[in-house]
Symmetry: C2
Subunit: 255 residues, 2 copies
């Protein structure tokens, strides 16, 4: 049984300096608004790799932002098979809307830190700062679009194309967060099983596809290390247009 009340206490997140969580909500808001958010926050929480923030069908009492670490949303079916719905990087929004039980679970891939805003603070927060409501909607909207992208990939593309698309997505989203490291290599904390569960295929077949991509000098993924050898070919195989790739990383339009 997980409860957001058990705050870590040891790791107070600095909301004002926080690059990750608040970016989409408050990039061009006055610094003041960030400080406002601090007032509505409940506390922070750390989750160990492999643990759940919440499980499927478990009530979820707060709105979370990931401050640090990788997590993923998943759903389970009766026979134990799992579908990964979304990989959540720092800045992702995690549980919205009070009194509802989540239809999916959230598990940490690495050790992670999330900050929580209790649902009952949400109404007052938005009354005071209406702009945040629209930004919230925009953040969810983006996640919805990403889900739609994945839907086309899984529904209409071959195993090879699906794997290529997922690796590309994770690479692009990761690199946006640390643009300083302009490397074609990254630490990707997944197993081939995870990739299979995210792309709707068996882990074993993921392996075969990866071998193919490696032999052709396109990408290498081995023991949680991803190397993009031929970015252009990868984009080509993934079959996503540049427009769409941009949409994975775009920020709230500052008018």
């Amino acid at each position: 049984m997980t409860s957001f009340q058990e705050k870590s206490g040891t790791l107070p997140v600095d909301c004002v300096a926080c690059r990750a969580s608040i970016e989409d909500l408050c990039k061009d808001c006055a610094l003041a608004i960030r400080q406002v958010l601090v007032g509505y926050k409940l506390g922070d929480r750390t989750i160990k790799a492999g643990d759940d923030l919440f499980r499927p069908a478990e009530p979820c009492a707060a709105l979370y932002f990931i401050f640090e670490g990788w997590m993923f949303l998943y759903s389970l079916i009766e026979d134990g098979r799992r579908q990964i719905l979304h990989f959540a990087l720092p800045g992702s929004l995690l549980g919205l809307y009070p009194g509802r039980t989540a239809i999916y679970g959230v598990e940490a891939l690495t050790n992670a830190v999330v900050c929580a805003i209790p649902h009952e603070h949400l109404g007052p927060l938005i009354e005071k700062h209406p702009g945040i409501g629209l930004r919230l909607a925009w953040t969810v909207w983006r996640e919805r679009n990403l889900a739609y992208d994945r839907l086309s990939s899984i529904g209409r593309r071959s195993a090879r194309e699906r794997v290529a698309r997922l690796l590309l997505e994770l690479f692009v989203r990761y690199r946006m967060m640390w643009p300083a490291y302009r490397s074609e290599e990254m630490h990707l904390p997944l197993t081939q099983e995870h990739i299979g569960d995210a792309t709707g295929m068996s882990g074993i077949h993921v392996n075969r596809v990866l071998r193919g991509l490696r032999n052709e000098g396109i990408v290498e993924f081995h023991y949680r290390r991803l190397r993009i050898l031929n970015p252009d070919r990868l984009v080509d195989i993934a079959g996503v247009d540049p427009q769409t790739i941009l949409s994975w990383t775009e920020r709230y339009p500052s008018t």
Copy 2:
């Protein structure tokens, strides 16, 4: 080239009485807020069955609500294959956020009427009525959850289960709109091709699956007429829990 300026003129939607479009945003808002929306509206537009409201990659200049008719969101890939992302019934939200080109297209399955709120009116509207921002976020959140449901279905379930789930979803969502007709029969304006494009399978295989379901006395779908013969079995095959089914139809929590 479609443009929202070409208002129908012939069919002014009555926003105050409108059951469909505004329900989620304003169910327990004062009637006054509905009247406010009228002021922010641009006009209405009719779309003939088979026509697009907008095409993939086409800029989308307004926020639309479906007032009447069935539509669907789709994306296309190079070789012409299509993935249907979502079937939109009256009340669905259609294009959010300014200056962006949609990554998908929207086509009408039946003749349809939508009402449009220009993006530039959105900011002022929400400044004045902050509650609407949160409701907007909630609406999008629901669509995101629905997309996640579909993702598990397509990614992890057999053809038979996927078809069952889709028919169940459409039936449940449809019946919520007209609860008066408590019939197990409905007009479902799709071809088997549509079902295939939505479930990630070929139209031909959809046919085989439907034959199976018909032979077992579970559902009949023939020339746009859907009949649920054995609801319990259908839910069972679709493999969705009652909790999830409820989430497809739930409304904004009135606190």
